[in-house]
Symmetry: C2
Subunit: 702 residues, 2 copies
Amino acid sequence: QNKIVKDANALEKAVKQAKPGDTIFLVNQEWKNVALTVFGKGTTLKPIVIMPKDTKKIIISGQSFLRIAGEHLILKGLHFKNGYSPQREVVTFRINHDLLANHCRLTESVIEDFSQPERFKNDVWVVFWGKHNRVDHCTFVDKLSAGPVIIAELNDERSQENCHFIDANYFKGRQRFGSNGGETIRIGVSRYSLTASRTQIINNYFERCNGEVEIVSIKSGENNISFNTFYECEGSLVLRHGSNNTVEGNLFLGNNKPFTGGVRVINPGHKVFNNVFKDLRGTAFRSALAVMNGVPNSLINRYYQVKDASIERNTFINCGPVLFGAGKDAERTLSPQNVAFSSNLMVNPTGNLIDDTNKDGGISLKNNAVVNLYKASLTDGFTLIKVNQHKKDALSIPYHKNYGADIKKLPFVQKSQAGASWYVEEVFRPSRANKTFNLASAQSQQIHKIIENAISGDTICFTEATFYKVDKEIVLDKMLHLIADKILKGKPILVSSSFKTLPAFITIANGGSLAVKGLAFKGNFESYGDVQCGIRSTDQAMNKHYNVKIDGCEFYDYNESTFSGFKASKSTFADTLLITNSLFRNISGMGINLAEEKEDKGIYGVENTIIKNCVFTNILGSAINVYRGGNDESTLGPFVTIDYCTFNEVENREQGTVVRLSGAQQAVVTNSIFMNSGQGGRSLEFREFRWDDIKVDYCNFY
Amino acid sequence: QNKIVKDANALEKAVKQAKPGDTIFLVNQEWKNVALTVFGKGTTLKPIVIMPKDTKKIIISGQSFLRIAGEHLILKGLHFKNGYSPQREVVTFRINHDLLANHCRLTESVIEDFSQPERFKNDVWVVFWGKHNRVDHCTFVDKLSAGPVIIAELNDERSQENCHFIDANYFKGRQRFGSNGGETIRIGVSRYSLTASRTQIINNYFERCNGEVEIVSIKSGENNISFNTFYECEGSLVLRHGSNNTVEGNLFLGNNKPFTGGVRVINPGHKVFNNVFKDLRGTAFRSALAVMNGVPNSLINRYYQVKDASIERNTFINCGPVLFGAGKDAERTLSPQNVAFSSNLMVNPTGNLIDDTNKDGGISLKNNAVVNLYKASLTDGFTLIKVNQHKKDALSIPYHKNYGADIKKLPFVQKSQAGASWYVEEVFRPSRANKTFNLASAQSQQIHKIIENAISGDTICFTEATFYKVDKEIVLDKMLHLIADKILKGKPILVSSSFKTLPAFITIANGGSLAVKGLAFKGNFESYGDVQCGIRSTDQAMNKHYNVKIDGCEFYDYNESTFSGFKASKSTFADTLLITNSLFRNISGMGINLAEEKEDKGIYGVENTIIKNCVFTNILGSAINVYRGGNDESTLGPFVTIDYCTFNEVENREQGTVVRLSGAQQAVVTNSIFMNSGQGGRSLEFREFRWDDIKVDYCNFY
Ligand SMILES: [Ca+2]
Ligand SMILES: [Ca+2]
């Protein structure tokens, strides 16, 4: 029997009353702000199906979520879009602690644009509880906020040894998250990682899942991750906790994009075979294959020793060295033991074949082959051979019957085979061509109106080299250029005409970006209120990345210790901050403050910071302050470049630091001059791990 | 004409319509949640008076505040109590930017218990705007939250050269605030400090105003701070910004209490004479007299050079050295110049007469006298003399006609002469004698009810050495003892029986304190939710200090990196945390986390931390983490003592620290053993200033 329902209550009632084999249709409409709960009992042969009347005609939007419990329910063709969940999850396979789902299925569905507005508000799009549940042929588009796309929970027996299926899904993009919490799939959690999950992750297509170092994080035992394609993903399939997992027949295609990884192995009893790793550029944790060192007497959430692993018949094409003993340091001292590495094929290795940080015989290298030795020398356990290419769809992959993956039999997943078949992505088209708005000083107050009417890419041109009085902060939620007219000799100067304190002259809100050129930002003016900052990112919710370019600008007269020229607010993330040819002076706080995120969780605010040809003078705090605290190893940034900068009379206080790049994982400071600065402390401060990449060169320190 | 009003609207209307000489009476009632606004115009001879019908019969309570504007208004006998302001101020001498008060007066009033519930929610009890306003004969009782008791604003001409009067007030206590922001009076602000205020602060009585290093902070010019008594105040009268201020005839009575200070001098043109400094134990910034070094090319909020100061005819009795060039470091390099120090009298100095960090002749010592030399040697500019004592009220003070203060003429203020004459403090009396509640394991859930009925000082005794299952956090807003029955062989073990994650087993709320003895706190149990912490202070609003004693307890099985045995939450403040004979083990976070306050503003969470005879084993993070960041010099803490502790398998990660006492200003680590710990980083980390007091002794590091 079929039924059409119009609201959440009707749906709940209909499913509860449904008989095996019934189908419940959602009426064609936008289902907005709906808490959908379905509980019912179908049978294996006669499931209850819940689906839209016409899949393409409904979306579930606003503050909505779906809870599923019971047996043999199939939810099909759902489209979550234009909203986010008010709960910790969008779709969850239980209603409450007592009511779980078993043998239920979410299929042919899409979760798109359904991220929390605040990037660190942790949620998950799909949470498995119970057993034998399945998510298949679904499409998941770029989750922006913290938390994995899919997780499986194993809190008690009802959800352990669960045999879930995650198959034929399309994971379409996930931007670099700049913190832990950017996983795409996580199965289990450290506390329950000693139990088996037996989840099957197969035939999925992962495209540019770049959230963090773990794309798939396995934290339980006896799972099977097989026949998936990882396309240009900046991370790895990681066997983080739990034992006896199987990784078979996956295809990792890096296309020589930076940071693309393969498989990382921790804990005992894993099997990794028949996988193809191609054109991966990741190193260290992101190596095509990284086998980690363990920790003696490890806590459950740390690193158990690798033992009894079998790594066989994998093909590595144009990759760096396979890394044994990854992460070795003063704590991770237990080398992998009884690891069989055999019958693997390495084609055109870009460096050594193998790097082993322990070299204690824990790795048994046998009967492997290599095609073309460039920089590497032939290691014991490898033979130099020649191979033929095997054509496979659009790929051409070396094949040998005795070594490497069994290409001929592997069912590599194509993008077109994965995800919801009906889904077509919307393409954005601008409403008009970009234009330039001229702004005279007398029109200062109109800038807010102009911005409201602007579209991304437009330009506002300041036409007079005099004071521009603004009475509130300028908030950008689109990409705009703010420039001084090229013909001007001096700079247009932004000042406040409000008696209130303004948090900044320009605030980048969610979706905003800025290129500013030739303007001055003066923090105090007459007896008007202070302006606390020249340019900052918003202290409101943000989940999109922003970009800022500052060229030929001046920031001055910020007279309190919490003020600064530029500030990246907590819980915001910039792809790139580029500051060139600019002057920061007479500031009682910091010049450039990228240190607002102080939680020691490896979180930082700007991926790429480039500061060139800038002058910092008479600054009480640090000229530049970058902070990333803690031991997290999920990310590679922040990347900082400081070049041709001058620091004069900056931060001479006791224990002060002129340029603080604490925790920057990649930093270059060159061609810069430090004078009358850092007299009570230091010119430069790092707090780097042994694997960080730090360079200081061609600098003068007076 | 007189009138009685019953509500805020009627009051506003009545004052607006009042004629010079009228009196408006507030009706006898509790004025709760009232936004009082008065605007009116009286004359010098015929002011308009606003006052309660019967002063002792009304209070202004709840979320209330008072705005005053106009001329010649007198507000008298007001009593703010049992509430706090929803604004930034309780009483303010303006209605808005345009409407200021001039020649208005708040007198015979009391502000008591009117602190923001959240200690870092900054507000001020009285804010001066306009000119010629006066606050006199008022009593201000222990402001608990951030911000001064009284400030004067000088933002524009209408409020500059203002000639306000702050006289005959009683500032009754202010607890150590543990951060900047604990001033009692501030006149001006650095931005406008180059203008004159001409405020008179006279005949006030300051009792135990211990908020921070600045009791009175002068940030403007030409003020007069005279004839005040500072009784056991842990701080100083500070001429922080602005020039040409006068400090005359004040009495500083330290009674040999630690950290009691006198006058600190910065900027040019000040006169400090005829003051008496008696039994002060402060050093450095809190010296009886400290004259600071300046900063070259100083920013407005930093340290201008001292020049052309005259410090004459002061009497120092039983004090440490007068300090010239205080704060000298790599940044504060400009010595005081043209400072005349003459005709002063030093009686029984406890150390050197003078410490001069510069010795460049900037100080002219002439014609001073000393009575009794113990440790000091006679310096040029001093003569050894004998004096007689002069009886003055209850005091007996040395007097000499040629040296020191002119005791005979000085009108030292008595406590009884200051403040609102009608005010009598309420004294708290407990409702019954303390008692002990026994708690068997089966009664675990009743603990919340027992606590509800308990009074401060009561005891809850756990009578069985088995699991006590609690299903929600135990919240304490009073002082309780939680103890194991003495006859038990093992420990009662608190575990969670909630499926939710609990933030802690025990949370200290505002007003709460805890002494716990012999209990175990196990962070995970069966498949119930995690408990994130054994004992913590609340993450809700707090403005009272708490105390925790932990003896013979055990904290174990906390399995996430953010978890810990004990945690002091952000924005809470403990006087003392004393942990003895306890075991911390198997923790993936920290043992004792006092590092939640990460803002680098000199803020910290516990004044005195004492950890003795404790064992920390198998801990992933730091065993003990104390953090105080930044350059602030307002406070003396945190004070940390670690004695007879053992650290085994603690924080071996890269750059990790076993015991981090970053920014602890006074630390002692003794008789402790560090084994298999800190292998990737360090055993102990400080980040101390040259003036901090750090001692590490008798420790073994393996
Ligand atoms: Ca992760
Ligand atoms: Ca202060």
